[in-house]
Amino acid sequence: MKPIADQDHYEALDVSPSATRDEIERAYHLAKATYADDSLAGYSVFQEGELPLLRERLENAYRTLSDQDARRAYDEELTRPVRYGDSEPTEPFELPRAVDVVPTVVPPPLTLARDPDAEEGEEEQGEYDGARLERLRVRRGIELDEIAGVTKVNPAYLRFIEEERFDDLPAAVYVRGFVKCYARCLGLDPDRVARSYMQRYEERPSKRRRGLFSRRPTSPAR
């Protein structure tokens, strides 16, 4: 590890240079939570004015590393001094300061085609279907078992929610509760998510619509 000012993008995100896209996503979201103003993990650590700088540093790193082309260009920048160093053995090898490297790698414009959920604030609009919930969960690095552990909702139901296996889920009143718990765990607005998801649930193509208490769901094995 090195002082913050000397860290490259990978170190700033706390990932290895061979990190996959998913790992970078996860590290980014973790770091964002770590450097939030009300972050518990940052309590007593940061000095005043330090957090905005750290967040800027983080965004910078993420912008480069989350874009394939920009990342490749950046990787080349990172390795170049090594090759030069070979011919000049008297010069001690020093990693370029990340801040100096950034301008040469033009950050990609934000309009680049990306995963619809990749942007900040993306969670504010659009429909919440099972696939999207799963995507948001994975991006946050949370396992279903963890959600189950905290909410006490059977993990099989949580999986059914993500897979939209509506017929395997219990009555609407339960599902709404489960979805709310799930959303809360992900830090999403529980009401908004539940409203959106339940609309899908109600409009499901199933012929066997169940009333509130018409049938006890069969408990899936944990």
């Binding site: 993990a41 309590y43 650590v45 690095g141 765990c185």
Partner: protein
Amino acid sequence: MFGTGGDHTLGGGRIGAEPGRTRRPGFGRSEGPQLIPVGGGKGGVGKTFVAANLAATLARAGYRVVAVDVDLEGANLHTALGVRRPRRSLADYVAEREEDIPKLLEDTSIENLQLVAATRPNLGSPQPGHARRIEFVRALRQLDADFVLLDLAAGTDRSVMDYFMVCDDGIVVLSPEPTSVENAYAFMRAAFYRRLRLAMLSEELRTLVGLAMDERNERGIRTPFDLLREVEQIDPAEGARFGRVMRSFRPRVVVNGARSAEDIRLGFSVCSVCRRYFAIEAEYMGYLNHTDDARRSLRALRPLVDAHPRSDAAVYFGRIARKLLETRSQTGGVA
């Protein structure tokens, strides 16, 4: 490396009866138990709860475990393990009434799990000095057991930190509250700087490290990175030693009382902050859910994992125990 990781299957809270009595080749150091201190700086975060239940989890898996209470001021590991009135205690050793550590051992209701209590006959009885603590730890290393867990007192006093020094990767318990997070950082930094100080050979550098421990020091040393640079300037050989000590310290964080996914993630964030700001390679070992079972089992004077072996908490303790076993062959004590 030995494939020990796959051998220990602690699944679903019920732990496969792994015979701890048969020592695998290359398991642990040459001989003797692995010492695991459980600290965390703040009181009430669950150090005793974690120590008692981790000890019970390992014992239930067939390992021979000794749980040691080293908190003479607030002894209650014995209660967490269901031993109401210990007949012997660390206090007997401190007062030099008993020199033979195996004679301090109390059986618990759990097979393979023994206890060294810290109850004191009267409050005026003496506290051990530094030398006596070191002697005690040395004696613990001679015990015929697989694991010795140490339940530490709160705070970062020298009397506490001595016990956290017994290995590179002690457990730091924290709960998802600012007060606990603050103290956990203070605790890990205290341990870190203490190790650095101990590793430095020259008096000058020891003083420098001591100075750096105080954040408002006049030399403007704010982070361990600054300190490393200073040390390297004074003596490159000491700088290299400093770097080695820096890398070898790997405290393991356990989040106790998690109620949300955010709480669970706290462990990752804390470790990340440790790595970046304190140069401490902390590892997130796992979390334990907030549960009323903890209080209920305490009332019943039984460790939770023993009273409720199928509870969620037991599953989480199983995961943490498995991590301990996986890394056991790789960790050694401080030279």
